[in-house]
């Protein structure tokens, strides 16, 4: 239940209110489904709070998450909650004018923009979707990412999704959920289907 009582009260000199508004770094990892889906579900809560939301899709193909993107764009434009900016590596980041063929370079360009936005406090919630992969593959330096996140100003929440989250990222995160695959239709020979998988 969301409003349970903490099991320990830390001796950190902070009030409950101060602890409550600390920026959260969340990681959704593991081989199961629901990592990104839960991050976009979290974005619904942020939107409801009126927070500006920045989504950075660190995937080669821009085909995925069309449903989530459409929904969040409609929400962002509804005028009832927060704004939504949706950035896709697969289509070429909108702020990069030249074409980047190399996924490694493209991922780095994405991270550079995230850094600029964190410094400028552009968003209140960042969804760094599939961001664990460029970290896992060593394209982006995990230590640098953690240093930047540690020093981010204000109350900016960050959710990072993807398999194989580096151990240092898991250590640094405030909230880590591992999605474990118990059973999947593909095991029974069923392909992914519209509305369920994308």
């Amino acid at each position: 239940m969301p409003q349970g009582q903490p099991t320990t009260v830390p001796d950190d000199g902070l009030t409950t209110r101060q602890r409550r508004t600390q920026p959260v770094l969340a990681v959704h990892t593991g081989p199961g489904k629901g990592k990104s889906t839960a991050a976009f579900g979290l974005a619904l809560r942020a939107w409801n709070q009126g927070w500006p939301i920045g989504v950075f899709q660190f995937v080669k193909s821009a085909k995925w998450k069309v449903g989530e993107e459409h929904a969040l764009r409609v929400l962002g434009a509804s005028g009832e909650g927060g704004s939504v900016a949706w950035h896709k590596m697969g289509e070429g980041w909108s702020w990069v004018q030249r074409s980047i063929e190399n996924s490694e370079d493209a991922a780095r360009e994405g991270w550079e923009q995230v850094k600029r936005d964190l410094a400028a406090e552009t968003y209140r919630l960042y969804v760094l979707d599939e961001f664990t992969y460029p970290l896992h593959w060593g394209w982006i330096d995990t230590d640098e990412v953690l240093a930047v996140l540690k020093d981010r100003p204000g109350s900016q929440h960050v959710v990072i999704t993807g398999r194989n989250a580096p151990a240092a990222l898991v250590d640094a995160a405030d909230l880590v959920t591992e999605m474990t695959k118990v059973k999947h239709p593909m095991d029974a020979g069923r392909k992914g289907q519209r509305g369920i998988e994308w």
Copy 2:
């Protein structure tokens, strides 16, 4: 990746297309966060397909999921995707006129309506949020639920969330994800906060 290849091709006499449009029973269980959140993320995809969505919140308090509810209501009313009907046990199911003090009776009333809607094919996606609890507690008979779900007409997808999913439900489901808690801010004495927890 969503469009991976199945590892086996079953000898069930169905075409890939037939298998693709088979109704899915998904279960999000386990002690970690993201069970409901991922279900509501899934609802974004269903909405994008233009599917009518029925949410049944099987919880005593209606306070939770305000963000998701607001977002899905705005989406449902946007005219761009599917419709959204949101039913809350905590406020008293809208179709029940009398007051039900007893949670067990209230949960059963919820299930009776789900049965009627499945028979009428009212929705294309059903989110039965926290529905594992009345099953786990024996308030609603799991075997009956499984029999009704097995025989549901058409292509109606059902997502059931909550801890302690009965083994028979896990066996019957097409897709089961277990959310494992790796780390949570409450462990460090931080209370839940707005926009993150609700």
